[in-house]
Subunit: 249 residues, 2 copies
């Protein structure tokens, strides 16, 4: 893990890094290391990048004393696009412009993305575990939409993740890995999601193997998750990760 820059403002440090060609960003409270601190993996949405969850990351560090980390998903942000990524972007645009459903098409492509992304996230955890010196604190995952398409197969195989916020996804290919997720989950669903049919999302929630799994549904489209659900997701993670020393007011 090669750190390339570091800035600090309002008590929160932002450190850019590259790991095996994957660019990422690490946040934590100023004047402290990672050791023993709860860590949240923030998975961004499709078309976004590692800076998409920046506001959430800064809140996590400032309010709860957590560290947070995000990486560019394959084909996103600073990463080179493969021919497949280019084709996906072009054809998705064409389907949307034609008013045709994109769910199955997105499902196929993002499942391929997830196969590449899961080992990248695990490598980030390995690197941070080594870098911290004192080891990692409890690890949570928080990512909706593409963040869930990657997060569910990740949580299915990564025992360091102890709680996860998922949602805005319901592709049938996720059902099998969802059965293998056993940690507590909060699952966010938009009742009128134009990108993700409701039935698929309900079925995915139902498939989760977790003993504790809460579905939080609200009216509105894919991008209309209410602000109070962000606070609810934070509260859920706080219940499972605990708090560290937050940034002083």
């Amino acid at each position: 893990m090669h750190f390339t820059s570091e800035t600090s403002s309002d008590g929160v440090v932002e450190r850019r890094f590259v790991l095996d060609g994957v660019p990422g960003m690490l946040w934590h409270p100023d004047g402290s290391g990672l050791g023993g601190r709860p860590l949240v993996l923030l998975g961004h949405g499709g078309g976004q990048d590692k800076l998409g969850p920046r506001e959430r990351a800064r809140r996590c560090a400032a309010r709860f004393g957590w560290a947070a980390v995000a990486i560019d998903a394959p084909g996103h942000g600073e990463r080179a696009r493969t021919a497949q990524d280019e084709r996906f972007a072009t054809e998705t645009g064409q389907l949307l412009a034609a008013g045709r459903p994109i769910s199955a098409w997105v499902a196929r492509h993002t499942a391929a993305l997830a196969e590449r992304a899961v080992p990248e996230w695990r490598a980030v955890l390995d690197a941070l575990e080594g870098a911290g010196g004192e080891g990692l604190g409890p690890v949570g995952y928080w990512g909706l939409s593409l963040g869930t398409v990657i997060g569910i197969p990740l949580a299915a195989v990564e025992p360091r993740i102890v709680a996860a916020v998922f949602g805005l996804a319901g592709h049938a290919a996720l059902v099998e890995p969802a059965r293998q997720v056993t940690v507590p989950v909060e699952f966010v669903l938009q009742w009128d999601d134009e990108l993700q049919p409701r039935e698929g999302a309900l079925a995915l929630y139902g498939a989760l193997g977790s003993g504790e799994r809460s579905l939080h549904a609200n009216p509105g489209g894919h991008l209309a998750v209410p602000e109070f659900e962000v606070a609810a997701s934070e509260g859920f993670l706080r219940r499972h990760l605990g708090c560290a020393a937050p940034v002083a007011d």
Copy 2:
């Protein structure tokens, strides 16, 4: 409204009352009146009575400074049972013993209960509004199962209710009044509810006319609502009712 007894412990007053033959219980912080204070109407479940929500009521008063009120539903608690009530209790027991579905049967009977209960709740609000002197603060409703069968038609017609927690219900007869509910709602659903088929509950949530309506679903049966959902319901009501001076620690 005739108050028949008053006790106080741990900073919370409990006052029994009778209004037009309906027995009820009022809770509020000690050493204060009702005036201007948020008020929560607590609807009990089937087979319970006004003391069923007692723990919730005491928490509301102690932690948030709210007043809370509960009344015996028709045929419940200290109230005389009609021949219809007796028949309902007997036949429900027989159906359950025979392992037969009771949902439709319960729906028909509880809809009749609700018709009797709605004007009783409104009379309680009228009486408390008069008794408080300073008028009522914002009013919330919190009741699951039978509490929702009564609460949805109540909230559909009672403009003093500004927010409501419903759930564990999904009878088709509730869909029409649900469309007339426009205040924020948190709707609690048990994914494996043996008394209330999931599809009916999802449809009822979907029918609510409220711009803000959150569905909170969790695994388990009718009686297995997780403790953290109680805290979530309190947080929801707190967001909409505000806080008054709580009981001092």
